[in-house]
């Protein structure tokens, strides 16, 4: 994926973003269907579930909120939990911000709203590629809109036809996101610093997995970043082996 764009135009970037996000959209389908299908059992109305997908647009947080409603949690607890579950998005925004500083607010606000794990993964890979396309935000837009439309469609279908849908997880579609992320991460491991980063992040994620509300993920990400920084400082390597920067970057290679 990571489509080759010889002469990037707005339209070409948009559709490249759509294309590269396709496997992640497939991976999100079972979760959208399950969220919709389980909503009424959890005590969430049609409008409530649809409203979450339309206005919150955060899969993990929606699942956890739905479970908390079923468990009779108060509104304050659910909103605070949503905040904690979504904290990792601040890391994504911070990583993307240096590449997007030229954009006006009417671009930053919707792209910020549409930021997800999936779009972050493909969009940061696009931004770290060395070509100087001025339309990389159109790639972000394509990725984000595709994820958003799909998530809301799946929520709707799940709400309407929840009972008759075969268990999409039995088909293994939930693995599509994981294998896409594997395809993005593995080529990044080009230095001892990134190796230390992924080893620490992976091990911490497993050890901290019992923690609620995605806190394990957040801690693992922070410790992984710290491991990368420390290794880079104490075991310096030639410049070409370091992870990419906007100036010298090279991310997932074209195919």
């Amino acid at each position: 994926m990571m489509s080759v764009l010889p002469q990037p135009t707005r339209r070409a970037e948009f559709w490249a973003g759509v294309k590269d996000t396709f496997p992640l959209v497939v991976g999100a389908i079972p979760f959208g269907l399950i969220f919709g299908a389980a909503a009424s059992a959890n005590g969430l109305s049609f409008a409530g579930a649809m409203g979450m997908s339309l206005f919150v647009f955060a899969g993990s947080a929606q699942f956890i909120a739905s479970g908390l409603i079923a468990g009779g949690a108060s509104m304050a607890v659910i909103i605070l939990t949503t905040f904690i579950v979504n904290l990792r998005h601040a890391l994504y925004s911070a990583s993307l911000a240096p590449y997007m500083k030229h954009l006006p607010q009417h671009w930053l606000a919707p792209l910020g709203f549409w930021l997800t794990d999936e779009s972050f993964a493909v969009v940061i890979a696009r931004y770290t590629r060395t070509d100087d396309s001025p339309y990389k935000h159109w790639y972000f837009l394509g990725s984000a809109v595709f994820m958003y439309v799909n998530w809301n469609l799946c929520t709707y279908v799940g709400l309407r036809a929840g009972q008759i849908i075969p268990n999409a997880r039995d088909l293994g579609l939930d693995f599509a996101m994981v294998v896409t992320f594997i395809g993005i991460v593995v080529p990044l491991v080009k230095s001892r610093a990134v190796l230390a980063c992924v080893l620490v992040a992976g091990l911490t994620a497993v050890l901290a997995n019992p923690l609620p509300n995605k806190l394990g993920l957040m801690i693992a990400a922070l410790l992984g970043v710290a491991a990368g920084v420390v290794t880079e400082a104490y075991f310096p390597q030639p410049a070409q082996d370091k992870p990419s920067t906007p100036a010298e970057g090279e991310a997932v290679e074209a195919m």
Binding site: A47, I69, S93, P98, I182, L203, A221, G224
Partner: protein, 109 residues
């Protein structure tokens, strides 16, 4: 519970995490060490999503057995990604590994 208020509250806190950092961080010059640290975020966070997804089973316990098809498919796709550097090939072979291994497991009962 007032669902409209709940959705509004959830939408507000989520947007308040995603947007302001994006809007403000680009405007202020980022100290070089912070910028260097942020380059590790994609590798760290994606690994932190991948590893539990393949080694933690449905019962939320560590499952390193070969009957865990997610683990086997992950172990197949990582070297494919390393050797080919092709995302598409990694996804195709990874999914085929998952389905193929599951099929073998059902054959073996």
């Amino acid at each position: 519970m007032n669902e409209a208020l709940l959705v509004a509250g959830m939408a507000l806190v989520t947007f308040a995490i995603r947007y302001p950092v994006l809007a403000l961080l680009g405007k202020i010059p980022l100290p070089e060490p912070v910028f260097r640290a942020l380059r590790y975020v994609p590798a760290a966070v994606l690994t932190a999503i991948i590893i539990p997804a393949v080694v933690i089973g449905q019962d939320s316990h560590l499952d390193l057995r070969l009957t865990n098809a997610y683990l086997v498919a992950g172990l197949v796709s990582a070297p494919v990604a390393w050797r080919t550097r092709s995302l598409l090939l990694t996804i195709i072979l990874g999914m085929l590994a998952l389905w193929g291994w599951r099929w073998l497991l059902t054959l073996l009962g």
